[in-house]
Amino acid sequence: MMKGLSSRCAFFLGFLVGTCTLYFFLRQVWFERSFALPADGGSSGVASGQDVDGKNWKVEGSALINLNHPHLTGEDSHVADELYKKVRILCWVMTGPSNLQKKASHVKATWSRHCNVVVFMSSVEDRDFPAVGLGTGEGRDQLYWKTIRAFHYALEHHGDEADWFLKADDDTFVVVDNLRWMLANHTPEEPVYFGKRFKPYAKQGYMSGGAGYVLSKEALRRFVEGFRTKVCTHTTSVEDLALGQCMEKMGVLAGDSRDTLHRETFHPFVPEHHLTGKFSKSFWYWNYCYYPIVEGPQCCSDLAISFHYVDPELMYILEYYTYHLRAYGYRHRYQPPLPGGLDKLSETETEAEAGNKDSVGAAGPQAEEQAKVETVQANRVTPASEKNPSDNRTVTSQEK
């Protein structure tokens, strides 16, 4: 009897020891917990314009009319809002049935939310997406047919709802706010169109299709008129060139879309390519660009308008880079001028910027070798308190 008891005790003891040992071992080795919040916790208060259920979009036929373009946490967007009202843009996106979910849906979820009106142009109608059926086929040889019909559709159905008409591909990323800035210096009655300007084959050049191009209302009217009078016809399926030739015939000017430092805004490739790539001298690009090519950081304006060959993932990345990610308090090198017609608007902003411009030699951080001054120069900017009484925006700048 004694034997049984002691071996049972031994068993229990062993069980206890085994459990405890393994528990402590696992704690050290296996259980690792991160402190990060789960991804869907604490999402910011951004209005999402992705639901086509009347909340942020009104569906009108096959177009999405913007009711509530996205606003960001903590921002003052009164200038952007003013431009939204003054420079109305209809964006039409060239796509096809097999790309609606693969590509166009990501356009819908990102940059197109910033347009006043957006229409997805396909060969076949899709009521749910929604997408317009242009009644063409699919494929490269149909591109100009689709373009012709798409522009006709846009003028006919939405001519009164927009001042400018942008064409983009379903792999083009557009910063619509920057497009408004550029266009605000022009009027929709001017016969002009803008994009990434190429030079061959047309006297005044033409605009690259992939990088997107935008027509004024007058330019669009003339385009449609050209087809009515048969001055313009379907000459070739090379859509951008053909359109450029029609524009030339109808007396529409090929505009210069570069910023005030002559940096390009419409880009036919992805940002990485323009910022870091070296185009080989035999590459066609060198012979096509109307303006001198700049490689490296000055390739691209801070107020870039478009990039091309953007895959779905990059769409979201660029949306994040453009509208969300920023450096707190950073005073940008490039201070773009307020476009004409908005002078009265934000005196606060221009005053503040002017004040900052005068902070000469207010260098940023690093001044290693220079045995520079340690005193911080306080740069006071008096806010225009009449405009923004609640804005206690006295600013201190930092320098080494």
């Binding site: 071996s7 020891v17 050290q28 916790g41 999402s43 910011s44 706010d177 979201y316 880079y321 450096a327």
Partner: protein, 326 residues
């Protein structure tokens, strides 16, 4: 005979107990959720047993008198200790050409020197001893800088956002922060997403470096630990604990993954609100990018923006001299 049967019972019990425990923990890990931390970071507290450091909110900063804000902006200057080696020459050159220009002082620490680029040659191949030497050097050469940021050149940091996070923190208190991970009992700051130290922490760290028993120079011999864990252990002995850097809404600011990876994960998980759920506006670090992608991030952070959207930030940081990619 008795001894043998007892022994075998004991062994049987041992095995069964271990198995039992394994089973329980497997079941447990399948059903349990990661516990959300309900503690709130204490901004001004002397007691640092809280685990979260939150960035100041807009309202907090606006309430501050101007001269206080000015004083704070003078004090929040960062010494960047960037760990490199010739093997990652691309990243070394890119870090030098991009984000490190926004540090008040950026010093590169290498395991061996490279002809093309300047650095402090620590002549040390092992990571933990290398970090020890680098931190000691940083502490001794701090000048009047009181915040330290340790990162590999494969990490991209936005120093202005780090300064924003540190703005109302006191560098004479011990801070050790970044993205905090818990391994068993030990909470440590992840190396790959960057580690932030206050001057006081470095002071204590450098002191305990002399304690060969608690903080051995070449790391613990018996159970090999990663350098980030060695660091956490040494600091634990001085009473300094890891703290998670978050924005005012609790979202982690330090990431070892790239925006691309985080977006992909978000897309797979829930295809709506991908951008909004991905990453905070004022993120401090990202990792996992190629040198070219870092140049794109430089453009994305410091230049690319939508016209007409203004932020009335309480401070201004000027662009660095002699640079054109920001």
């Amino acid at each position: 005979m008795k001894m043998l049967s007892e022994g075998s019972s004991f062994l049987k019990g041992l095995l069964l107990g271990a198995l039992f425990c394994l089973l329980l923990s497997l079941l447990g890990s399948l059903s349990s959720e990661p516990q959300p931390n309900t503690e709130h970071g204490d901004d001004h507290g002397d007691d640092h047993h809280h685990h979260h450091i939150k960035a100041p909110s807009k309202e907090e900063l606006q309430r501050m008198p101007e001269d206080l804000r000015m004083q704070l902006s003078q004090n929040v200057r960062v010494y960047c200790a960037i760990m490199v080696q010739p093997k990652i020459l691309n990243f070394w050159a890119t870090a030098k050409d991009t984000w490190s220009k926004h540090c008040d002082k950026a010093v590169f620490y290498t395991s061996e020197s490279a002809k093309a680029l300047e650095a402090v040659d620590l002549q040390e191949k092992d990571e933990w001893p290398k970090i020890r030497k680098a931190l000691k050097h940083a502490f001794e050469n701090a000048g009047d800088l009181r915040w330290f940021f340790l990162a590999r050149a494969t990490t991209f940091a936005i120093i202005e956002n780090l300064k924003h996070l540190l703005l109302i923190k006191d560098s004479s208190q011990a801070f050790y922060m970044g993205n905090v991970v818990k391994a068993g009992e030990l909470e440590y700051v992840e190396y790959d997403s960057g580690i932030v130290f206050s001057y006081e922490t470095l002071r204590q760290l450098v002191r305990i470096f002399n304690d060969e028993e608690r903080c051995p120079e070449r790391g613990r011999a018996l159970w090999k630990l990663s350098e980030e864990k060695e660091l956490a252990l040494c600091l634990k002995y001085t009473g300094v604990y890891a703290e998670n850097g978050e924005d005012s809404r609790g979202k982690g600011l330090f990431n070892k993954k790239s925006v691309s990876a985080l977006i992909s994960e978000g897309l797979a998980k829930s295809p709506s609100n991908v951008v909004e759920n991905c990453c905070p506006d004022l993120a401090v670090t990202f990792g996992g990018m190629s040198p070219n992608q870092m140049q794109v991030m430089m453009f994305g952070v410091y230049r690319l923006r939508p016209y007409g959207h203004i932020y009335h930030d309480s401070l201004i940081f000027m662009p660095p001299e002699g640079s054109d990619n920001d």
